[in-house]
Symmetry: C2
Subunit: 139 residues, 2 copies
């Protein structure tokens, strides 16, 4: 039932060593409902295992990103924010007032993107679509 075990299995399958620190970071990522920054991940991981260091957080995130396990989002220039890759592809709407990140997906937009790229003679490898907005003040 505990998916942390699943993550551990995945790690082993890829031939990487399973360390306390990596498990702590993975656990934090798994239980994060938001899109935390590296610094915040460090803080949370330390609660699990105080020995986790900043360098390891970055090293682990880089490794997990390459493995496709985590997504690194570089929103408006204030440090990257991370999330587990598990689910379906989605884009982001960032609340300019609160910093909150809302996920959304539009099959139509994806299709249009592919069409446009094709017209220009390109195959899309990946894309980034971010909407920055505010909740209108209730009148």
């Amino acid at each position: 039932m505990n998916n942390d075990a699943q993550l551990e299995t995945d790690l082993r399958a890829e031939g990487v060593r399973v360390t306390r620190q990596r498990l702590a970071i993975l656990h934090v990522l798994r239980s994060a409902a938001d899109h935390p920054r590296a610094e915040e991940l460090l803080t949370r991981a330390k609660e699990q295992d105080p020995s986790v260091s900043q360098a390891t957080v970055y090293r682990t995130l880089a490794m997990l990103e390459k493995a496709g396990t985590v997504l690194k989002n570089e929103f408006d220039g204030a440090g990257a924010r991370y999330e587990l890759a598990g689910g379906a592809h989605h884009d982001h709407l960032i609340d300019l007032d609160t910093g909150e990140v809302i996920e959304f997906h539009s099959q139509k937009i994806e299709r249009l993107q592919a069409e446009i790229a094709a017209e220009l003679g390109y195959d899309i490898e990946w894309h980034r679509l971010e909407l920055y907005g505010r909740r209108p003040k209730a009148g």
Copy 2:
């Protein structure tokens, strides 16, 4: 005929002082067909006026961005790339092999973005849409 004069007039109209350095940077922006980084802009501006410094390039770009004269693009985390804002709004397709930046625009995508945001209860302030792709190898 020379649009540099026009840019100078605009500067004065906004109450900012017209300096050699600013003119050099504006000229470089105006004659750039690409989307150069700050470092590259510095190099080019120095050809016009060797006294231009790095600090002034960044200060001038920040000022012009705030004035709406230049657009700052933060593509894949390797330093911002700039362009004059003059024309119509557009998004970017980045060639992953060459780094070349291609501009495009889709009224349909813009409309869909606004719809999605509205459904989520938001007004879009601005957005960022970047496609990263490759030109398929000719078979």
